[in-house]
Symmetry: C2
Subunit: 176 residues, 2 copies
């Protein structure tokens, strides 16, 4: 950030009175420009036969690696609405009965990733602009070396654990 | 937002190619300025005798109403670190053993509130610049009419329910 988004004057970095961290502040209009982590929200779509849906990324980063449907939560929506929207956009699946199963912080990237288990109402799914392949995988057949992101890998492993353990939400972080 | 924070030129509102929502875009440097929901992270601190800690707000909004320690998650920290930091800042309590118990979206405010149950190691707590009173409450003695925010009320009620129900994370939203 170089300029105040309110008045257009150059910003400076300093700790406002009563605050404990340096911020981008505008000495012209007194605006304080906070920066906060962003939420990635997504799903683990489960087909009627128990297989789970994965998408092969059609865009960088990690193009052609497999991932769960997920993306940035937008203003004006809930975490669940965002997860279902991304699932539709990336796999043409309309997920049902969302249950939160993982919350993973990435402090080095200023992100928090949240995943919901959702039921697929049927076996319908399809490729999209964001996914050049979409397929269902048996739980013992997940292509681990080709999974795009560590938060997706951890969420999938947590989903596997939930098959034999009492329910809990994975709450974890990945440092670097 | 009126000006590009990168180059200082005026921004316009339009939907970038391949996107599905209007954004603030800069036609001078091609920057796209996304806006995303912010996370409020906090705790339900539980004393060794089972009483829970509440803080009386020393600042607007809802000054002098009772709340749980919570605040905006900062870049560079995890949801848990943010919750523990806010708990320390607002009540001088060092929470232990955090367990996520609620995730509540507020789409009208572009916020997501997350609360962790934490153990207090002892009965030490204190007022701070943000809390003009801090006190422990028996579960049947919570001052419901004086609770500051609906997400705090829902989280406290969920915590009460968890005394008699199998564990689950409240995942909810408040529309307006
Ligand atoms: Zn300014
Ligand atoms: Zn610009």
């Amino acid at each position: 950030m170089n300029f105040c988004s309110e008045c257009g004057h150059p910003v400076t970095v300093k700790t406002p009175p009563g605050d404990h961290l340096p911020r981008f502040v505008c000495e012209h209009c007194d605006a304080i420009h906070y920066r906060n982590p962003r939420i990635i929200t997504g799903t683990v779509p489960v087909a009627p036969d128990g297989r789970i849906l994965l998408c092969r990324r059609n865009i960088e980063p990690r193009k052609n690696f497999w991932t769960l449907p997920a993306g940035f939560m937008e203003n004006g929506e809930t975490t669940v609405q965002g997860a279902l929207r991304e699932t539709d956009e990336e796999s043409m699946v309309r997920g049902e009965n969302p249950v939160l199963i993982s919350v993973i912080s990435l402090p080095a990237f200023d992100q928090v990733h949240m995943f919901y288990r959702v039921d697929m109402p049927d076996f319908n799914y399809g490729t999209t602009a964001e996914s050049n392949a979409v397929d269902l995988y048996h739980l013992d057949d997940i292509p681990w070396p080709d999974i795009a992101f560590r938060t997706v890998e951890r969420t999938l492993k947590h989903y596997l654990e939930l098959q034999t353990q009492p329910f809990y939400v994975l709450n974890d972080h990945i440092d670097i």
